[in-house]
Amino acid sequence: MASIKGEFLELESDLHSILDKAESYGVSYADIRYQEYYYESILVENKVLKNYSSRKFSGVGIRVIIEGAMGYASTCNIAPENLLKTLDNAINVAKALGKREKKTLDFEVNRAEVRSKFKVDPINVSPEEKTAIALDANKAAFIGDKIKNALTRLGFSKDNRLFMSTNGAKVRVETIMSGLWHESVAKSIMAMERVGYSESKCSGFEFISSNDWNNFSLELSKLAIEASEAGTSSAGTYPVVVDPEVIGLLLHEAFGHASEGDLVSTRESVLFGKVGEKVASDTVTIVDDNVENGYFYPYDDEGTEKKKVVVVEDGILKGYLHDTYSASKLDSKPTGNGRAQDFENIPIVRQTNYFMLPKDYSFEELIEDIDYGIYVGGKGATGGQVDVGMGTFTFSVGPSKVIRNGKLAEMVRGVVISGLILDTLKTVDAVGKDLSIRTNVFGGCGKMGQTVRVGFGGPHVRVQKMIVGGR
């Protein structure tokens, strides 16, 4: 982590004044978050540039606690007089709530300035250079008549966040991301098949300029064609080997959300009251952590330093993820998981990089004992749904392969996996020694109207019993 020199000095002075003013109004606590966000998106479709858009988004959010009640207000207009009006809004909504039981919120008081590693700020790279990369990658996808449509998107973000509180905290985090997403649509006599995938990193433009994106899109076209000519799997319960992308998605959606302290405190989560209980097989250990290849996340949006949280250790549920509020409700410590989409939103409990730790199986060892099963692929997965209260999940995964007599066999398309997450994790009987964690500049995880970037992944995992549906 590189540190950054203090900028925004004039702004910091204005924000300090607002916090002083808040104290003079009798708040027991206030914090203020300034954000300056740049996003650039370049979309090429069928060899033609369709969109070049660039966005700057900035503003301030103010949170106050008065008589135990919390109020929040935000604005894009950071003129000092408007900041005062925004403070008034926050105070007035807190007062409208009336007196509340006072909770002790365990705010860490950190002072830090950090930025993710990068060499070349992508926002400063010429539009010509960026567009050329997207155009070339898109053209490379047209490998035959069967490719009917190809979309390529380059995305860059620069997110500067400054957090200050009446407790004296001041944390500034700058994160730069770059990535490329591509989707090829192939049509055969059998079916039309879309396969989309992206690679993103908390990195500068060097991540884009140093990779072969033409080959990336070409390989996705090959996969789309092969999938469009593949058959569908027959529905049933099979042993499956799940690739890192799918296990990441599965854990994040079906287990990760259930381990978020706010959903636990309202008893919405299937994991409520299960700390100390067995929720997975002995070989499963799940953590939420700030890691190199995932999303850069040294401090959360309440100024709390991100700690490694062991959620499951050797199959036993050890704890939950928390922001200050859920920690207070469940008598725990904040874990640095209080995250907000932007300054217009209040931090809520979110995962950061959530993944299963690797063990000792090679891929060949994972499949060698399976007479008939499915190797579930993540490339081209179109997502799914979960119910955190029931622990049910359904995911449409990417083109997958049949495992026959311990070997990978033919491809199958339209594979859907579903089940109860706690049952599924209890039938994990082998975990690979590889580990892949990914993040995504093109989207993130949505919860209560807020989307945040996350990292997810894991090793290859073998599940003895998984419900697999076909089309």
């Binding site: 540039l49 969109n51 858009s53 660039s54 929040y72």
Partner: protein, 382 residues
């Protein structure tokens, strides 16, 4: 000269052949609750999105800072990007047909005067209502928004609209011994007076009770009757993309080449109604300034028309249907349905159930992705 008109002129002065400015400002009251109100926030937001065309080179730049200097800077950036962007050979022009339809019922003035205390009181009454059913409110959200949009381009002076939207969702949980279930209910409306939060809360609790002792069933082929709002959600998911000219022209739509052919049973008439009174996407003009309209997409099972914005309509040499929609001021307009309505038929739900010897009544679904993977919550009717 207004900010929007200044921006349009500035982009032209800097060398663009066409320009467009889209200014949005919004105030949102956002109230989250479980057993009590957990969060009440006031969001004042907005920004300006500029589009420039330099012959066939198109670019967009947006900023949330809307003072004169920032808008000038945005104009410079958008023209700079357009100058170096490769050409889109299919580009013709921005919307040249500005106008307003007869749409009504998209703005409720009373929302401008709502007191914070009134909102708090409404939520408290709803929470009490859930408890009357021995259920527990586990999560809810009420949002009240006023959005002002101003759009102008080099072919027209500015057009302005103000919209209001009130939206609520309530989730209630009920436990009875080993059984537990969560029910939910939601509503979106343009009018504050139509937001009966107590009724929504009651329905959420009733739904939780209804599903409490639901049992799983084996896979089977069986007649199903789907509740109207559930079917609407499924229809929207599976048809919103394919009925747009954008999908059709790109070869992504399974409805390509099927105009004037039968694609559904003759009881099936689907309308995109941009002028439906009080519809949640009813507006007098779309996000390019084109008048909105009512469009028959499928009539008695026959595919009649795709939905268009300016770009796609020029390509097909037809008129736009006024279906340009932006997700925000920072986004390009895209073709999307306004209010997608399946016309009613002549059977009542009771009659349908009576005629079904053995079947399922689908009350709710979770997850309706493009492949229609549905986890169905249902009541068995025997």
């Amino acid at each position: 000269m207004s900010l929007v008109e200044k921006a349009v002129k500035r982009v032209l002065d800097l060398g663009a052949s066409e320009s467009e400015a889209y200014l949005q400002s919004e105030k949102i009251l956002w109230i989250e609750f479980d057993e009590k109100i957990e969060c009440f926030k006031v969001i004042e937001s907005g920004g300006i999105g500029l589009r420039a065309a330099l012959d066939k080179k198109i670019a967009m730049y947006s900023t949330s800072v809307t003072d004169d200097n920032s808008v000038n800077e945005a104009a410079e950036k958008v023209v700079k990007i357009a100058k170096i962007a490769p050409e889109d050979p299919e580009w013709r022009n921005f919307n040249m047909n500005f106008g307003k339809s007869s749409a009504e019922g998209y703005y409720d003035k009373s929302i401008e005067n709502i007191e914070y205390g009134e909102v708090v009181e409404k939520v408290k009454l709803a929470l009490e209502k859930v408890k009357e059913y021995n259920a527990k409110p586990v999560r809810g959200l009420l949002t009240i928004s006023i959005t002002k949009t101003i759009i102008a381009n080099c072919y027209s002076e500015e057009f302005e609209r103000i919209e209001t939207l009130v939206s609520a969702v309530v989730r209630a949980k009920i436990e009875d011994g080993q059984y537990k279930s969560i029910g939910s209910e939601h509503l979106e409306t343009r009018f504050w007076s139509r937001m009966d939060l107590e009724d929504i809360a009651s329905n959420a609790a009733k739904n939780a009770i209804k599903f409490l002792k639901a049992k799983p069933i084996e896979s089977c082929r069986i007649p199903v009757i789907i509740r109207n709002d559930v079917f609407a959600s499924i229809l929207s998911t599976i048809l919103s993309g394919p009925i747009t000219a954008d999908w059709v022209q790109k070869g992504r739509s399974p409805l390509s080449g099927k105009l004037e052919t039968r694609i559904a049973c003759d009881k099936f008439t689907l309308i995109d109604n941009g002028i439906l009174y009080g519809g949640i996407r009813t507006r007098p003009f779309d996000d390019e300034g084109h008048p909105t309209q009512k469009t028959y997409v499928i009539k008695e099972g026959v595919l009649e028309k795709y939905l268009y914005d300016t770009y796609t309509s020029i390509k097909d040499r037809v008129k736009s249907t006024g279906n340009a929609l932006r997700g925000g001021y920072w986004q390009h307009p895209q073709v999307a349905p306004s209010n997608l309505i399946l016309e009613q038929g002549d059977s009542s739900p009771e009659e349908m159930i009576k005629e079904t010897q053995m079947g399922l009544l689908v009350e709710d679904v979770i997850g309706d992705s493009g492949y229609l993977i549905l986890l169905v919550e249902m009541l068995m009717q025997q």
